[in-house]
Structure formats: C-alpha cells, structure tokens
C-alpha cells in the first residue's frame, strides 16, 4: 500500500493546475495538496527513498518542468518524502511565509546554467624528482604549486569577465570556481523569461570568443539555486 508522499515542488495555488495530468515515480499520478494560497505537487509511494540514478533524476525534473510552464515553481530536492498528507500540509503551513517570499523572488524567472571546463597542464618537475631529502620533496611541491598558481590566475580572471557579462542580463547569480576535474567555473543565473533569448545570445558570443574553454550551457531550469528555506520555520505558524 502506498502511504508516503513524494514531493516535487511548491507553487502558488492555481485552479487550472487541477487539469494537469502528470505521471510521477512508479507510474503514479501527480496530484495537488493545498494550504491557503500554496500547493504542493506530490505522488503516492510506498518507498522511503529513491535510488539516485539518471532515470529517477530525469523523472523528478520532467514533472517539475511541466508544472513550470504555467507556474512559478519552488523545486524540492530529489527524494523528499513525507509520511502523511497532514505532514505535507504542515510543511506548507510551517514554511508558508518563506515559501511565499521565495515565490515572489523567482516569479516569471528561470535558472540558466554555465559550466566551464579547462585542462590546466602542470609542468613536470622531473629535474628535481630525484628526491634525496625531505627538503627536495618540499621544493618540488612548492614549484609545482607556484606554477599552477601562475597558470590558474589568468584563467580565473577570464571566467570572472564571463560572469560579469552574464550578470548584466540576470536578476541574481551564483558562481563557484571548483577547480576540480577540469571544472573551473560553475555558474547559475536567474533570468526573466522574456530575457532568455538575449541571455542565450550573449552565451553564444562568449562561446565564440573563448574557444579555449569547453562551455556547457543549460536551461531553462526551475530555480534550484535561488530558493532558500531557513530551517527554523516555527515563527511562521
């Protein structure tokens, strides 16, 4: 028997959403649980967690994308599950004002993503690889670090220029420089729906200009990077 509720997203309440016919995990129908002006999109499940694989992730995202067409959407993290219908309502009640604030912020906007990959070749300090002491070893590590630092800085400066250009066409943005596995820049941009084309044009220009980078452009996403809930929601009740 399916007694748990898998959560996909929270939206403003909208009676037209009752006509949406969506299929969620395990082929179950997606339906709405509402509290005042908010709705949670859920499907019934007998599981208490879902395996992290491509199919399950894509299904979660696909359901949200369809809802996103006609709604401002606050996406839930993958595999968020409530035990009872009352818990879903309680969640909407407990975080009511925070949900409403977030909806206001992302209303009529989508998230676009930019990832930049670049391989930084490190000099091989073989000339001092004939390590005979701890000091030699430390010197080698020091030279390698200096070399890497000198090479990475101009690359980071370029990603900062790219970020600045993209920021001018977005309402909000986030980025990190992971510098791991050739991923040197990971950015997310909150873009008005009617600015998406302009934003995409700028990305094309950037791709043509920085051919040394592998740039992955993705979107429109629901605003995963721009929704924030403080856990101490008790004051909302």
């Amino acid at each position: 028997m399916e007694s748990n509720y898998y959560l996909y997203c929270v939206t403003p309440k909208n009676n037209r959403n009752n006509e949406l016919k969506l299929i969620g995990h395990d082929g179950k129908e997606v339906f709405i649980i509402s509290y005042r002006y908010l709705s949670a999109f859920v499907s019934k499940t007998n599981k208490s967690s879902y395996e992290t694989n491509l199919d399950n992730l894509q299904l979660h995202e696909k359901v949200i994308e369809q809802i996103m067409n006609n709604n401002s959407v606050l996406p839930m993290r993958f595999s968020s599950i409530c035990k009872t219908r009352d818990d879903v309502k309680l969640m909407l009640r407990k975080y009511y004002s925070q949900f409403r604030e977030n909806i206001k912020k992302v209303d009529n906007k989508v998230e676009m993503g930019i990832k930049i990959f670049y391989k930084i070749e490190n000099e091989d300090y073989e000339k001092i690889s004939n390590i005979s002491s701890g000091k030699d070893y430390m010197m080698k590590r020091f030279y390698m670090f200096e070399d890497w630092k000198n090479k990475i800085q101009p690359v980071l400066d370029k990603t900062r220029n790219i970020h600045n250009r993209l920021s001018t066409k977005s309402c909000d943005s986030r980025f990190t420089n992971p510098l791991k596995n050739n991923l040197i820049f990971n950015g997310a941009y909150l873009v008005s729906k009617d600015e998406v084309d302009k934003f995409s044009e700028i990305v094309s220009e950037i791709k043509n200009q920085y051919t040394e980078f592998k740039i992955i452009f993705s979107g429109p996403w629901s605003p995963y990077n721009f929704v924030f809930i403080k856990q101490a929601g008790d004051g909302d009740e």
């Binding site: 208490s48 992730l57 592998k214």
Partner: protein, 59 residues
C-alpha cells in the same frame, strides 16, 4: 552506445546531480523522511567526471 551519446548522458547526469541533490528546497528532520542515498551520489559523480575528462582532452 557511442562516445558522444555517452558524453551527452554524462553531462545531463552532471547537471541533474548538481541541482537535484545539492540545491532546491530541503527540509531536514521532522517532516520529510528521506534524503537521497549518499554513497550512490558519489559513485555517480566519479562516473561523470571520467566522461568530462575525455571530453576536454578531445579539443
């Protein structure tokens, strides 16, 4: 599966992992009972990075 198709799949997976497991609304504790399986997440990321590495080397 061709290398290109595999790469596309890896990129899709990376983008999804990046958002669905790391971002979005998460409510720990009292109301929700599940946070996705951590071990599997890391396994997934390693697979993806392998694909990315070959993708950048190709250039």
């Amino acid at each position: 599966m061709s290398d290109l198709a595999q790469q596309e799949k890896d990129i899709t997976l990376l983008e999804l992992l990046d958002r669905l497991l790391d971002k979005g609304i998460v409510l720990y504790g009292d109301l929700t009972i599940s946070i996705a399986d951590i071990d599997l997440i890391y396994l997934g990321i390693r697979l993806v990075i392998g694909g990315m590495d070959s993708l950048t080397r190709e250039k």
